[in-house]
């Protein structure tokens, strides 16, 4: 059973169509990246999955239960793009509240583990209002992990983090995947998605315009060979032609120093898919 299954999902806000028949699946232990320009429908999709928004058509199921139902909400952890915790509460109190709401029996041990996981162990008794934005973001990630959810929905989880914080989250995501937790990651950071995601879906105007693994999405752009005469690019060539090309160059008296297979980056695939759309 898929952690998240979305079929022909549609959502209209008055005359505006936010989602126009989206199909998406997040398997067990799979890390799926959601890409797209502002207004493409990414956040709407995530919000429908966690029951904050009701779909106009189609359906979304979380671990087999209809999105928004009690059992669906019990199976997921969510970090909103724009979220805030009460400024008067300490980090420990925020997690304790969410443990009670999620019916988690993890107790103090779970809170300690989660705070250590997001490098906030020293800020356990610090009030949220005294935390930096990055610290609050990390507390948000810890909150989403309360109760060991099967599905994690992360909407721009690294938007307020510095490079070290981003790396911490990346390592955390890989660790979660290792534990079988499924993740739907909504992010603008293409390099981040390319590094950690097993599957990527690109949304444009409420529709999926490209989907697949980063390797599937990237297509061959030729072979680059560095010789004593400089770098030569064979644009039409693929991986299979590489030994022949090297042999021909050597036979022609050239010294070969390096060979590189060229493929498009996720950024190039993305730009091609969204055709320059920014919002």
């Amino acid at each position: 059973m898929a952690a998240l299954s979305v079929r022909s999902l549609g959502k209209r806000y008055g005359r505006v169509e936010a989602l126009g028949g989206v199909d998406l699946e997040v398997g067990d232990g799979q890390l799926v990246g959601l890409l797209g320009p502002n207004g493409a429908g990414k956040s709407t999709l995530v919000k429908i999955a966690c029951g904050l928004v009701r779909p106009t058509s189609g359906e979304a199921r979380v671990c087999g239960a209809p999105a928004g139902s009690t059992s669906a909400r019990a199976a997921l952890g969510y970090l909103a793009e724009l979220f805030r915790f009460p400024g008067w509460a300490t980090a420990d109190e925020v997690l304790r509240l969410h443990q009670r709401l999620a019916r988690s029996r993890g107790g103090a041990a779970e809170r300690t583990r989660l705070l250590e996981l997001v490098a906030l162990a020293d800020a356990r008794d610090r009030r949220v209002e005294a935390m930096s934005k990055g610290m609050q973001q990390r507390l948000g990630i810890a909150q989403a992990l309360v109760g060991e959810p099967r599905l994690l929905l992360l909407d721009e989880p690294t938007s307020a983090l510095d490079p070290v914080g981003r790396r911490t989250v990346r390592i955390l995501l890989e660790e979660l995947r290792g534990r079988g937790v499924s993740v739907l990651l909504n992010s603008h950071l293409l390099s981040e998605v390319e590094l950690v995601c097993d599957h990527v879906a690109i949304l444009l105007g409420g529709k999926v315009v490209a989907a697949g693994s980063p390797e599937q999405l990237a297509h061959a752009r030729g072979v680059e060979i560095e010789t004593d005469e400089g770098v030569r690019v064979f644009e039409a060539a693929g991986r299979d032609e590489t030994p022949r090309l090297v042999a021909e160059l050597v036979r022609a008296g050239r010294r070969v120093y390096g060979v590189r297979l060229l493929s498009s980056t996720l950024e190039e695939v993305y730009l091609e898919a969204v055709q320059g759309e920014t919002s």
Binding site: K47, Y78, R100, L101
Partner: protein, 283 residues
């Protein structure tokens, strides 16, 4: 699950700075009220009524001051109720405070009921404390006590709980500021209906009195306030009783169990409407 939300909301209410401000302002009000009582009861002895007017000056002054304290308790209670509830749904959703709570498996109805129970508990305790504190001040300084002490306070607390429920309902549709303004306007409309009743009563206008009567039933927190006012004045007879019925902030023209039952039903209807509207609202 409702208990978790109630605990959270109670802690939020008590730990926000606004509560400390309300507490300090209340102490200031009670101090000024005590000062006013001191001067009123000192000077009332010197007032000479015409020989044909039979009124107990001290009990008149005492009940008048209690009526004033009752209005102040209602007003301060309404301010607190509105501050605690004006942004519970739309306001908290705009700030991103609501979403992390709603996605948990507690249910939107539980969240709303929990928030109401906490706000009503804080406001009821506050209104009772202010009203009973003011009554005690008047009793100790003026040696005069209203006909009933405890139940008018409970009725007043119920009126404030009803305002909290209306504010919660408004918070589903309006942003925090807009909702706060709307609830204060509704509260003001209730006060105006009370004053209208007084005007109709004084002029002997059945039409105005009837309009005020309908308005009080349409806004039952005003009817409950009038009910509470009636409870403290019903044992005051003669000229003092007549004058008290005219003010200070509207007379008491509706009351009794019919009003209380209507208010309870009204609260239930507002609650059901809020739960239904919240269940359908996109966040």
């Amino acid at each position: 699950m409702i208990g978790v939300v109630v605990t959270y909301a109670l802690r939020e209410a008590l730990r926000r700075r606004v509560f400390l401000v309300v507490l300090l302002l209340t102490l200031l009000f009670l101090a000024l009220y005590a000062l006013a009582n001191y001067y009123v009861f000192r000077d009332v002895a010197a007032v000479h009524l015409p020989e044909d007017v039979h009124a107990d000056k001290r009990s008149f002054a005492g009940v008048f001051l209690s009526g004033l304290a009752m209005f102040a308790a209602l007003f301060l209670g309404v301010v607190l109720a509105v501050f605690l509830t004006l942004g519970v749904v739309a306001g908290d959703a705009e700030r991103g405070l609501l979403q992390p709570l709603v996605v948990r498996p507690l249910g939107r109805a539980s969240l709303l009921v929990g928030r109401f129970v906490a706000a009503a508990a804080v406001c009821a305790a506050y209104v009772l404390a202010v009203y009973l504190g003011a009554t005690l001040i008047t009793g100790l300084i003026g040696h005069t006590w209203p006909g009933a002490v405890f139940w008018p306070g409970v009725t007043l607390a119920a009126a404030v709980a009803l305002v909290a429920a209306i504010s919660l309902l408004g918070s589903i549709f309006l942003s925090g500021t807009a909702n706060g303004i709307a609830v204060f306007m509704i509260f003001g409309a209730g006060l105006v209906s009370g004053l209208l009743g007084t005007v109709g009563h004084a002029l002997g206008s059945h039409t105005i009195s009837h309009a005020a009567h309908i308005a009080a039933w349409a806004l039952p927190f005003e009817a409950l306030y009038q009910d509470a006012l009636r409870q403290i004045t019903e044992h005051t007879t003669g000229l003092a009783g007549v004058v008290l019925q005219l003010g200070p902030f509207g007379g008491a023209y509706v009351g009794g169990w019919s009003v209380r039952l209507w208010a309870a039903g009204y609260l239930g209807a507002v609650g059901l409407l809020a739960i239904r509207a919240f269940a359908r609202r996109d966040l």
